[in-house]
Symmetry: none
Subunit: 246 residues, 2 copies
């Protein structure tokens, strides 16, 4: 058996305190206790949350607030973005069962991201995730609310908890998100230096592509370090040569 | 696959119209359309149901009303009583997965019974069922509401129904090996040009590391092309600057 930690549930810009409470209740039903809130619309704490939590107060009391998705997932090695809509990004899409298996197989911390009630996750949040997780719902009637999405994924995690097999391959664990961000930041810096990001209106799309491509591998800390070393080696001589020219 | 009919969802003495609407919404998310109501407290139809159904009106419009559980299940061959409490009855207890398998395995009609919001199913209703179905929840915090119990069992039924569907991974296919070799060759070329491969006795180990790191992602043709473009952008200005120096 693995000692995989339970996933962190991250609500991105939740609108109603009531829904935060319902999500907490849904979590605790299946043994999840760690909630993070990114920029909750009405601030935090929210007096509407408690009654809706129906006794899951401990989840609300321990909830941590962050101002950005990047900060909220910085210590997480695998991040699943819960969406129902098709997204025009290259992030791999998995179902709840595959998500649960991946969480149970990872000794590092995982997170599941949920977007605001009305709009769902923004693309710039989705591309920070290692995977998209989509509950396969009725194609002609997909209408899951926030707490329902949370409970279904929490249920699936809990259900799979007893089915976990030790993994055959001893993979190095995925590095924390902050280290991946280091690689992405470095690469973007190199690219920026050579004028890669033009025209400006395409810059964000290009950055999204870079992020999904580099998130997909699930590189370990050691692998990230090697990639950064190679990029530095390729990029630096140019800098030196420019310097000597000046 | 079997031609097993989807299960009928039977709400026994539901109290709030709102909860009937939410149950209808939960059902339709996973393709269940047949709802039966046994002696709804506030009569039927109930004006509070429609708004809570969020568009699942067809389920409400077709709902049939019965005055007793016995009448509501008369045409059903397998009946699952959803309860969370331990019951002092000899009815066999199954989990959601076993329930779903049994429903899919039966060519005859199945039903799932849910009790009133506050009290749950009465013992005299439970004993009419062929099985008790219990969602395994947190032993120290079991707090599923009606719609949540419905959605979890509907999800489990739907999940088992779709196990023959195409894979949950909607990844772009891995590029052919030759394309990956193209990226690796290009990167090694850039690195060689800046004297990265020294000392010579470490070269092979370094090349092996590069190959394992770049093989791991399983990048598609499109992703490989993007990576090659970025590496070229970073490496070329140096080449140009060298050329202009020579």
């Amino acid at each position: 058996m693995t000692a995989a930690p339970p996933p962190v549930i991250i609500l991105v810009q939740p609108q109603l305190g009531q829904n935060i409470g319902k999500a907490a209740r849904a979590m605790l039903n299946f043994g999840l206790t760690e909630m993070r809130l990114v920029a909750p619309r009405d601030g935090w704490p929210n007096p509407d949350s408690g009654p809706a939590a129906s006794g899951a107060d401990i989840v609300l009391e321990r909830a941590q607030v962050f101002s950005s998705v990047a900060e909220a997932i910085a210590d997480c090695s695998q991040v699943f973005a819960s969406t129902v809509r098709k997204r025009d990004v290259m992030t791999p899409v998995v179902g709840p069962v595959e998500m649960a298996s991946a969480i149970h197989a990872s000794p590092a911390r995982s997170a599941i991201l949920f977007g605001p009630e009305r709009s769902g996750l923004a693309t710039e949040d989705v591309v920070q995730a290692s995977h998209i997780v989509t509950v396969p719902i009725n194609p002609v009637f997909g209408s899951l609310n926030l707490a329902q999405a949370v409970i279904l994924l929490a249920y699936e995690w809990s259900r799979s908890a007893s089915l976990v097999q030790p993994t055959a391959f001893e993979l190095e664990p995925r590095a924390p998100q902050a280290e991946l961000d280091g690689l992405i930041g470095q690469l973007e810096g190199h690219l920026d230096a050579v004028g890669y990001f033009h025209p400006p209106e395409r810059t964000q799309a290009t950055r999204n592509t870079i992020r999904t491509i580099l998130t997909k591998p699930g590189w370990s800390s050691r692998e990230l370090k090697a990639m950064r070393g190679m990029l530095r080696a390729i990029a630096q001589p140019r800098v030196r040569s420019n310097t000597s020219n000046s």
